[in-house]
């Protein structure tokens, strides 16, 4: 890949801005059947918790117009297994490894961050403070600026690697949330996590998901993600990873215009397993059409008019 796609997230350089969204790519093992993961700008693994999580009952997935809702419930093997089995395997691809860290209390977030950031192959922590799918011990990290601020601070104190905080869109004021975690020391933001949604089954008259509520992802949420990134971009000076309904190189360009410095592709992997290498390939054409040399020139350009 030519360096036109090279981007920087703080001190971390990515050869291209395309990486999977956490939870939509497992630990990468399945997609190796389709292509070599070293093509990607980085890899982001499934939300990792201190202990193993078995997740929510099924059905965990339902479709919505141009989107889907999920209530996986953070099923994952726990941080120690991730460190022992997944990270070493992933390191063969020579791309930055970003670990999405989840939890229910400050203590377990901090402990996961401590353990994972000590692994030399890990380049970055993405702090998942949104968790719409699991009971968060009554603490609303994702929607309360003060607790989000404190959590970020606590994790930053122990982390040896940069910490990006992944924001929940289910808030009145995304700018205040962003400012709170940046003040807490966040090195960057990942935006956005899923919106809370639900569906009903007319036959059973029950919510389709066993967990009732789920996280809405996919193209349907793209305009909301763009708006939130656009608003936050003007108020923070840390880089933003754009997420939400991306399915094409054109979408990536839109996220850059809104203020993103890199992007994650989630649900679209389910529709087309080759979507990320396809986007990487198409980006060159889109940059040509837009008359842009390096993609990072586009970051926040949507504000300049």
């Amino acid at each position: 890949m030519s360096s036109r796609l090279q981007v920087k997230l703080g001190d971390l350089t990515l050869k291209n801005p395309i990486m999977p969204a956490s939870g939509c790519f497992g630990f990468g093992r399945e997609y190796v059947n389709f292509y070599n993961l070293s093509k990607l700008g980085a890899i982001v693994v499934k939300g990792t918790t201190l202990e193993e999580r078995i997740g929510n009952p099924t059905p965990r997935i339902a479709e919505t117009p141009s989107g889907m809702i999920n209530s996986i419930g953070l099923q994952n093997p726990g941080v120690d297994v991730v460190i022992k089995e997944e990270i070493p395997w992933l390191s063969q691809f020579n791309i930055p490894i970003i670990v999405n860290v989840a939890g229910t209390m400050t203590e377990d977030y901090v402990e996961v961050a401590r353990r994972i950031s000590n692994v030399s192959e890990v380049s970055m922590i993405e702090l998942n403070i949104s968790c719409p799918n699991v009971k968060c011990g009554g603490i609303t990290f994702g929607t309360d600026p003060k607790t989000a601020h404190e959590l970020t601070k606590a994790v930053k104190e122990v982390s040896k690697v940069p910490v990006f905080v992944k924001l929940s869109p289910n808030v009145t004021d995304i700018v205040t949330m962003a400012e709170a975690v940046v003040e807490g020391g966040a090195d960057g933001l990942s935006m956005i996590n899923t919106l809370i949604g639900m569906r009903f089954d007319l036959k059973t008259r029950k919510p389709v998901l066993a967990n009732k509520l789920g996280g809405l992802s996919g193209p349907a949420i793209k305009p909301i993600a763009l708006r939130m990134i656009y608003e936050v971009y003007k108020h923070v000076s840390v880089p933003i990873i754009g997420i939400g309904g991306i399915t094409s190189a054109e979408d990536v360009a839109e996220f850059f215009l809104a203020g993103a410095s890199a992007v994650q592709v989630g649900t679209a992997n389910f529709v087309d397993p080759y979507i990320m290498p396809k986007i990487i390939q198409d980006l060159e054409r889109v940059l040509d059409e837009m008359g842009v040399n390096n993609i990072s020139e586009l970051t926040g350009e949507g504000w300049n008019y």
């Binding site: 399945e30 099924t58 965990r60 999920n70 996919g218 389910f270 529709v271 080759y274």
Partner: protein, 270 residues
């Protein structure tokens, strides 16, 4: 597992709302699989295809459909599906010579390599769970294994594939309203004289639950093919898990798309 373009050779309604679609392998998705070997396409009975039914974002997700038959000589693959909602409706609208974007073959398939040639196998299918049993029956019969098939339908007008199974061995049929075969469920087709070594079943959850219960404390072995709502279809999203006996898998769950859709019948908690 690979992403393929398949050319539609036939797509027709064979009975009320049930369609048969025949696809011919056209090409591996090469644009991005460059430099990699053209993987051999060799589906096994019990595996499924994950099909994109729309080229826009609605409906968004692919649809899983089991393999009904496969002819390696012509690389033609046949599926039988029921029009259920928007996705299968769109599938039914594909015309001859259209191209279909499929991922597959996916899943583990029915295990039958270990079946002795003198074994007597029973296949138990209910409604739209019947199709995947056909490809299995063919493979078993080809190995000289004796197959009895029990088919359950709602009523005569919903029945299908009976003749196909008849050409492979004994077939017993039941229907809820008695309009074809005996009145009742497939379980009513089982008699005390039946001595089967292994069963394979696919159908409504209630049916498979009843079968599991009936034979749990007997000597018979058997396999159950499950359905679950899917995201990725390949094991990455944890969307399609099923509970399994913790004595068998310490995590207590397996993925229908990847570890299944076929499970040892004593293993899953239905």
């Amino acid at each position: 597992m690979e992403q393929y373009l398949m050319r539609v050779k036939e797509n027709k309604e064979i009975t009320d709302k049930i369609y048969k679609i025949t696809l011919k392998l056209k090409e591996i998705n090469r644009s991005l699989a460059q430099g990699r070997q053209n993987k051999l396409f060799s589906p096994r009975p019990g595996q499924f295809l994950y099909i994109r039914v729309s080229d826009v974002t609605e409906p968004l997700l692919r649809r899983p459909i089991s393999i009904y038959d496969y002819d390696p000589d012509t690389t033609q693959i046949t599926l039988v599906y029921r029009v259920q909602g928007e996705g299968t409706k769109r599938l039914s609208q594909f015309k001859v010579d259209d191209d279909l974007d499929v991922i597959g073959p996916l899943g583990n398939g029915f295990p039958y390599d270990q079946i002795a040639t003198n074994a007597h196998i029973v296949l138990i299918g209910g409604g739209i769970g019947i199709p995947p049993l056909y490809y299995l029956a063919k493979e078993l019969v080809e190995r000289g294994i004796k197959v009895t098939t029990l088919l359950g339908f709602q009523s005569k007008k919903d029945s299908f594939l009976i003749n196909e199974f008849l050409s492979l061995g004994e077939v017993r049929v039941s229907s809820m309203d008695g309009s074809i075969g005996i009145r009742g469920t497939v379980l009513d087709l089982i008699t005390d004289r039946d001595k089967w070594d292994t069963f394979y079943t696919c159908g409504p959850m209630t049916m498979m639950k009843a079968i599991q219960e009936k034979w749990l404390n007997t000597a018979i072995d058997g396999y159950i093919s499950l359905e679950e709502r899917m995201g990725c279809g390949i094991g990455a999203c944890y969307g399609c898990v099923v509970k399994v006996d913790k004595k068998i898998d310490k995590r207590g769950y397996k993925k229908v798309c990847f570890d299944g859709p076929v499970f040892y019948f004593r293993e899953v908690i239905l």
